[in-house]
């Protein structure tokens, strides 16, 4: 039996369901295109309760996390939420995650559903005595509110003045009267928030359901279909498809998460090999002239094989195929023309720097007033 989130009854009544990472989740409520465009133009809500949430607590929590990720932890201010990576000894990416610094000795760690057990084992095997690692996945809900209208939609419920919460900041407050943790984060490319509703559980889901239904009055419920097309349009990698245990941060084009000069974390020694040379393959974005490039499709240049597509979709905004791919770094410059074999037909595409949408018109950097 697949697991369910606290909002399952709502999904079952309103959405086409699909199984993802062991959870019965909404794939779409109306259509992926409608939900996708609602997020780009207004506001959408996503049940992301399937993502695993741990609290690392204790005076050794900072030191512990410092040893786990390539991003400086001690130096982060209180109330900071940051994207980083869990690495193995070879520098390969075990998972990508968000860490929220709630107090000097207390952190919220949010990881991918599909990797929850692997991550927990990895962290437990390195946890010092005195550190507590509480799994809050079952006892909380998590709702993403995304889009240019997200702040207005969430503000109606939140005690906190959201205009004071900057991007990649977090704060504990109340939402619709429920204890909650709000971070100004998300995975759509848009401005938005992720709200962890505390003390929700399957036996007492009323708090989470109340938050969801009140948000649904001003935001469009969105399923995993739109979540995937939105993150692809923004060029954000999906662990398990675009990045994995055999991809290091340089190959993943995520070296920016590595704080300059930081050492002593798991994987640091393996990554020092890049001091003199870049990676042989690298993650890139790709826009198609025609056809939709999908996972596993071959990418060709004049000399033969350039690499392959790691995930792709049809962009509802561009009305074109967009994809992430892993290509030979020696011919990976932006603008490089490539061929993609789409079911034996060669279609043209170009290596393109994501996000794939016009950043003046869409995404969190858009000019105000649009």
């Amino acid at each position: 039996m697949p697991k369910t989130t606290q909002l399952y009854d709502y999904h079952a009544a309103h959405a086409k369901l699909t199984e993802f990472a062991g959870y019965e989740m909404p794939l779409w409520y109306t259509t992926t295109t409608e939900e996708h465009l609602a997020v780009r133009n207004a506001s959408g809500i996503f049940d992301v309760s399937h993502m695993a949430r741990f609290v690392a607590k204790g005076e050794r929590a900072t030191g512990f996390l410092e040893g786990m990720v390539p991003t400086a932890v001690q130096a982060q201010p209180l109330g900071k939420a940051f994207y980083t990576l869990l690495l193995n000894d070879r520098g390969g990416i075990i998972d990508d995650l968000i860490i929220e610094k709630l107090a000097a000795d207390r952190y919220m760690v949010v990881v991918n559903a599909a990797n929850a057990q692997t991550d927990m084992r990895h962290m437990m095997s390195h946890a010092p005595s005195g550190l507590t690692l509480d799994d809050l996945t079952e006892t909380t809900a998590m709702i993403a509110v995304q889009g240019p209208g997200a702040a207005a939609s969430l503000q109606q419920l939140a005690d906190l003045d959201l205009s004071q919460l900057k991007r990649f900041r977090c704060a504990e407050t109340k939402v619709a009267g429920e204890d909650a943790l709000i971070s100004r984060t998300g995975y759509t490319g848009e401005d938005g928030f992720e709200v962890i509703v505390y003390y929700a559980s399957k036996s007492t889901p009323n708090g989470a359901l109340k938050v969801w239904e009140r948000l649904a009055a001003t935001s469009t419920p969105c399923g995993l279909g739109a979540r995937d097309s939105l993150r692809l349009e923004a060029g954000l990698p999906l662990h398990g498809s675009d990045i994995d245990q055999d991809t290091d941060p340089f190959e993943a084009d995520l070296a920016w998460v590595m704080t300059a000069g930081k050492s002593g974390y798991i994987g640091a020694d393996a990554l020092s090999k890049y001091r003199d040379s870049g990676p042989r393959v690298i993650r890139r974005g790709l826009i198609m002239e025609a056809g939709v490039a999908r996972h596993g499709f071959d990418i060709l240049d004049e000399s033969g094989s350039l690499g392959s597509v790691t995930s792709g979709t049809f962009s509802p905004l561009l009305r074109k195929g967009v994809a992430l791919c892993k290509v030979r770094s020696d011919n990976s410059a932006y603008g490089t023309h490539v061929g993609v074999l789409v079911r034996d037909v060669r279609q043209n595409g170009a290596i393109t720097k994501p996000p794939f949408y016009d950043e003046l018109l869409y995404g969190w950097k858009r000019q105000k007033g649009n």
């Binding site: 086409k16 056809g291 049809f314």
Partner: protein, 136 residues
Amino acid sequence: MEVHGYQVPEGLLYTKEHEWAKKEGSVVKIGITDYAAKTLNDVVYVTSPKPHSTVEKSKSMGTVESIKAVSEVYSPISGTVTKVNADLDSHPELVNKSPYSEGWLVEVAPSNFATESRSLMDAGAYAAYLNTLLAK
């Protein structure tokens, strides 16, 4: 008739892969069913065989692609393509909006309709088939 919210019109013949065939004089129109269209959710590309090419019963004759996935279309009957629905190039969403009329895919001059149509389901049989599929 309607099964679990999916339209199954009378007078058409159906496959287990959710294509339909409709005899119109000497030709047969082919498309995908309401169930197939709704399962794909939002169709963004349709590839069909060219006019004058031949299609073979139960063999792939094209694809219907949604945001999430691409799925093969298997021809319900054998024959020669006489017309292709060119409207789908600019309006692939017609497959969702109107799977049994404006969203048709191709028109075929059948080569062996009398025999081949016997293995297709009528509306009643397809409705029953959908019922068993969706009861799981």
